[in-house]
Amino acid sequence: MLGYYIDLAVRSLKRSPGLTLLMILTVGFGVAASMVTYSVFRAVSGDPIPWKSSQLYVPQIEMWGPKGHGGAGDNGDPPDALDYTDAIALMRDHRAKYQSAMYMITPSVVPSEAGKHPINVMGHAVFNEFFAMTDAPFKYGSGWGAADDEQRAAVVVISEKLDQKLFGGANSVGKIIDVDGKDYRIVGVLNKWAPQPRFYDVVNTGGFTTNADDLFIPFMRAIDVSMANDGNTNCSEIPAQSGFKGLQLSSCIWISYMAQLDSTADAKTYKDYLDGYAREQQHSGRFAWAPNNRLRNLHDWLDAEHVVPTDTEVSLLVAIGLLVVCLVNTAGLLLAKFLRRSNEIGVRRAIGAPRAAIYAQFMVEAGIVGLSGGVLGLLLTGIGIHSVSWVLPKDIANLAHLDFELLLLTLVVAVVSTMLAGIYPTFRASRVQPAWQLKSN
């Protein structure tokens, strides 16, 4: 029977090629627009570390008091990074399974060969547990140990890219490189690792970035050699003292912090610890206000930091609106098309076709339109995703890609939505009174 319906549908569609083409174009454009914007949305709203995002937490401490509030868009949250005092206190208390304070650095690396220009690299100063916490993949060697942090050792973990640049991709563990004029021993080389968004330091990287971290050095080592911080530094007042030392003594925030807490009970305990810490600070007179802390897991944290650009959300919504209009349009055209064939329906019904058969016939026709629209939509989605970098900022556009899942989704959305649009026209077609149609001829 299905073969017969398909045959009928194709004949019918061929009979009015203009209307058919119009419907296919409508479905194609509608689906493609929403799929292209969805691919961008999917890329920016994805979980960068799905296997453990519910165990990673970011603490926030109210260290500015009322001075940090009252601006546009203030929602009562404490600042989104830590000052040096609190970051070090949290590290010292060491209450989580893994934790690391971190800050962004942009040192220069001088190649050993004479005559080569120094290169500027991006990186982070972190504590040893950073690597286990973020599941950073190692190609050679490993991270450094707790002892290296304590001794403020001159050790470094570099990226595969930097290893390629300096050592031609060989196992460089144990080799020495010059970072900001000082020698560091390589203890590990990472595999290609550029999670998007850069979840461990959203504040300084802005979330999505085309720049990858090329080296990691021990946090306290970086402090010791006064390696300047890059990224954001926010202050409620200008520091009392000059220099990097003055920044460390100030209440300016420039340090990101992440902790791994395996269960919600652990998270509860940690939050209590944070509040206890803030109360201590209040008693000692450093804070003149009651504790106002937050402990968000990674998912809530990315949400709170608005890592998904609002433009992406608005675009997706508008594109879905476009798809809805396309479907309303298709429904109207299908209705016209089906009712035009009242005669044919009348004859089929009169010679014994049940309503269900009429239903099946017209739903098949709608499905064929949807499928053709879906194929066109696939083509347009492909073009759209390739040209999206022409429209959107590079760091986001580069993330959008076409994969099997998206291909399938495009087709499914096209077929299902067209069939949805076809339900009412089909219903109307099945209600055609055979007697009435036969009589009018």
Binding site: E313, G332, P393
Partner: protein
């Protein structure tokens, strides 16, 4: 034209009529909001920077050696002398940031009293020397430029609050709305007052995120030479028409003078046109995207109206024939379909206006979009009526050519 018979006929095509009206309503709501977004973005992009954009370029110079403050300052002065000596260069200056840079520099809270908790405004701070205004081409409209002896060196994170500053007119107006800002002072996150010695006509901020919209064009220059161990931005103004030559000469001359520096081959050297493009990348993209969606949407709605009206015309050939046989002119038939479409459009638009404001209100609360002025809805309404009438015209014309003899033929 009598509306009564048209309404009666439409009642026979309830579903089709409702679908077209719904489509028009949705199209109106989406197109109005999309146009509003486009307008906001274009207005944002068109904001002036005050910079002589066609002749200015920027070099991001990072040091390849570890310098202390004095060494860094000396290197900066030497580099600036090198740059100013180039034949295609008019002037050069240094800063930690520049208008539309999106990186570097700082934004400070500004208060009028030392113990004020809620800031009066938020301004970008540029560090600049006595060449800053001239190099960028900023127009001084009151007061004076910096003197060479006022410019102090500042290393990374040095606390330098200078006694004097040059601010943008927008900032002057915000702080002292009576227009008497010159010579007055304010506080910038410190208890040391800063005195306004000069006002420039326009000087855009370095960062333009959504948070900065209430603080548009609020910026100031502090007389500071950026002696940071990390690096510095060199801003260079080429002689008119010699931008390309100057951009080619400058990095070569700098490397020749001192090899231990890093000028990123990717974005270390940028003309101001490139700077502008980078700063407004997402706004431009959003405007284009919304534009594409609008065009597709209007095309689909137009095509949908053509399709459905054509069908109706085909269905009513016999009735049209009868009317023609009874004396209706071509014009009567044409008017009939045009009026029918107008009625459907008006119905759809009525619903659409409600949807438009609903959608806008929702975007305002969810995404802080801004309230849409009424003119957008009005132009959207006109646009859709014109679109509907245009789309219906061809099928209506065909209908008007249906000969009276059709009345005698079976349907």
């Amino acid at each position: 034209m009598h509306i009564q018979p048209i309404l009666a006929a439409l009642r026979k095509h309830k579903a089709g009529t409702l679908l077209i009206a719904l489509q028009i309503a949705l199209t109106l709501a989406i197109v109005c909001n999309a146009l509003f977004i486009i307008h906001q973005r274009l207005a944002h992009i068109a904001e002036p920077t005050g910079v002589d954009e066609s002749n200015v370029f920027v070099i991001e110079n990072m040091w390849g050696e570890q310098y202390n403050k004095q060494q860094a300052a000396a290197n900066v002065e030497q580099d600036l002398a090198t740059l100013r000596n180039l034949p295609a260069v008019q002037d050069a200056t240094q800063s930690d940031s520049y208008p539309l840079s999106t990186v570097g520099g700082s934004d400070n809270f500004i208060t009028l009293k030392v113990d004020q908790v809620e800031p009066t405004t938020d301004a970008t701070v540029y560090s600049g020397d006595e060449h800053f205004l001239h190099t960028l081409g900023l127009k001084l409209i009151a007061g004076r430029d910096f003197r060479a002896d006022e410019v102090k060196d500042a290393g990374q994170r040095d606390v330098v609050v200078p006694p004097v500053t040059i601010i943008s007119k927008a900032m002057a107006d915000k702080l002292y709305p009576n227009g008497d800002a010159l010579g007055k002072s304010f506080y910038s996150m410190s208890s040391t007052p800063v005195t306004i010695v000069g006002i420039v006509e326009t000087m855009q901020r370095s960062r333009l995120g959504a948070w900065a919209i209430p603080y548009a064009e609020q910026s100031m220059v502090w007389p500071i030479r950026d002696a940071s161990p990390l690096g510095v931005f060199y801003i260079v103004r080429a002689k008119p028409g010699q931008l390309a030559a100057a951009m080619q000469e400058a990095p070569k001359a700098l490397y020749a003078a001192n090899r231990m520096r890093i000028i990123n081959p990717k974005d270390g050297l940028m003309s101001f046109a490139q700077v502008r493009r980078r700063a407004y990348d997402s706004d431009r993209g959003m405007a284009i995207l919304m534009g594409i969606i609008c065009v597709v949407l209007l095309a689909i709605t137009g095509a949908g109206i053509v399709g459905l009206t054509s069908f109706w015309v085909g269905q009513r050939r016999r009735q049209i024939g009868v009317r023609r046989a009874l004396g209706a002119t071509h014009r009567d038939i044409l008017h009939y379909f045009l009026t029918e479409n107008l009625l459907i459009s008006v119905g759809g638009i009525g619903v659409g206006i409600v949807l438009t404001f609903g959608l806008n209100l929702w975007l305002v609360t969810r995404f802080e979009l801004g309230i849409m002025p009424l003119t957008y809805v009005l132009s959207g309404v006109v646009l859709l009526i014109v679109l509907g009438q245009g789309a219906v015209f061809a099928p209506a014309l065909r209908a008007s050519r249906v000969p009276p003899v059709e009345a005698t033929r079976p349907a």
